[in-house]
């Protein structure tokens, strides 16, 4: 069987791993659990870093997780082109690990915010967004206390001109993120970080009142099956 195998990482304090596994499963790919303490990517074709409060979000979100044994394997693999998607805490970990530029800081409102957020897909040519049309507007839940994306002016300019802004908030900016950034990619495009949660928007009855999250999972499946 040559099903696409998507690794799902669990750190102590990870919360959305089971949700992500279910979403991967729903689109017909295989979800492979990856444990933070193992030096082992189990030969997966792509990796999903789910949300949560790894290490309690103590110190800074993602700061401690970044040093997990698994990250020793993941960081070089991602640099070599392995598709990686980090959502929420996963995004924070990717920034802390310097796989993505910039940082995620305390929401400008100083409150944790859980709500359904309008978004625009700015880049449809990453492995994680290929199933969307460029400019497509979608709704996904957001739920975070530290999602305000910041980066130096140079970095921001480079992200914008290099087509690395993948998803943007529409309407009220929920956290004060610079340039309304909700998600970015690395230069190569294989590593994507998002604050919103596609895995909570994949089924009609449960979770957010949309199934727009499915696109992220069909994107990676299509990408992996076609290559």
């Amino acid at each position: 069987m040559s099903a696409a195998r998507v690794g799902i990482v669990t750190f102590p304090g990870t919360l959305d791993d089971q949700d992500a596994a279910r979403a991967v499963h729903l689109v017909g790919a295989e979800a492979v659990p990856l444990w933070h303490a193992d030096h082992d990517l189990k030969g997966v074709d792509a990796v999903f870093l789910p949300g949560g409060f790894s290490y309690g979000d103590y110190l800074r979100c993602g700061a401690i997780s970044r040093f997990a044994p698994l990250m020793d394997e993941l960081i070089p693999a991602a640099r070599a082109g392995l598709p990686v998607l980090g959502t929420c805490n996963g995004f924070q970990i990717l920034c802390e690990a310097h796989l993505l530029p910039g940082a995620l800081t305390r929401n400008a409102s100083l409150h944790y915010v859980c709500r359904d957020q309008r978004l625009r897909i700015e880049q449809a040519d990453t492995p994680w967004t290929g199933a969307f049309a460029p400019g497509q507007e979608i709704t996904l839940p957001i739920k975070h206390g530290e999602g305000r994306y910041v980066a130096s002016a140079d970095t921001l300019a480079a992200l914008e001109s290099g087509g690395q802004v993948v998803v943007r908030y529409l309407g009220d900016n929920p956290n004060g993120s610079l340039n309304d950034i909700a998600g970015i990619s690395n230069e190569a495009g294989n590593v994507v970080g998002l604050m919103p949660h596609p895995e909570h928007a994949v089924e009609e009855l449960v979770g957010a009142p949309s199934t727009d999250g499915v696109g992220f999972f069909t994107s990676i499946l299509k990408k992996l099956v076609n290559t």
């Binding site: 290490y55 309690g56 103590y58 110190l59 401690i64 040093f67």
Partner: protein, 81 residues
Amino acid sequence: MARVIVDVMLKPEILDPQGQAIARALPRLGFSGVAEVRQGKRFEIELDGPADEAAIADVRKMAETLLANTVIEDYSVRVEG
């Protein structure tokens, strides 16, 4: 313009889960020799005027009522020099 620093730390008897999590992580990151880590807050307060006695008293009151939660935290005030 003068700058006053207010340090706010959890009282010693109060659990500091954040400091503990950092301390537990250190050996894994290759740092040894650390017995304990406690994490607190540091406030840098820029005054419009000089850090004279009245101003310091004001900052102290600010620390007591706003910056620190004296039920669980201690604070200290000092002029940066």
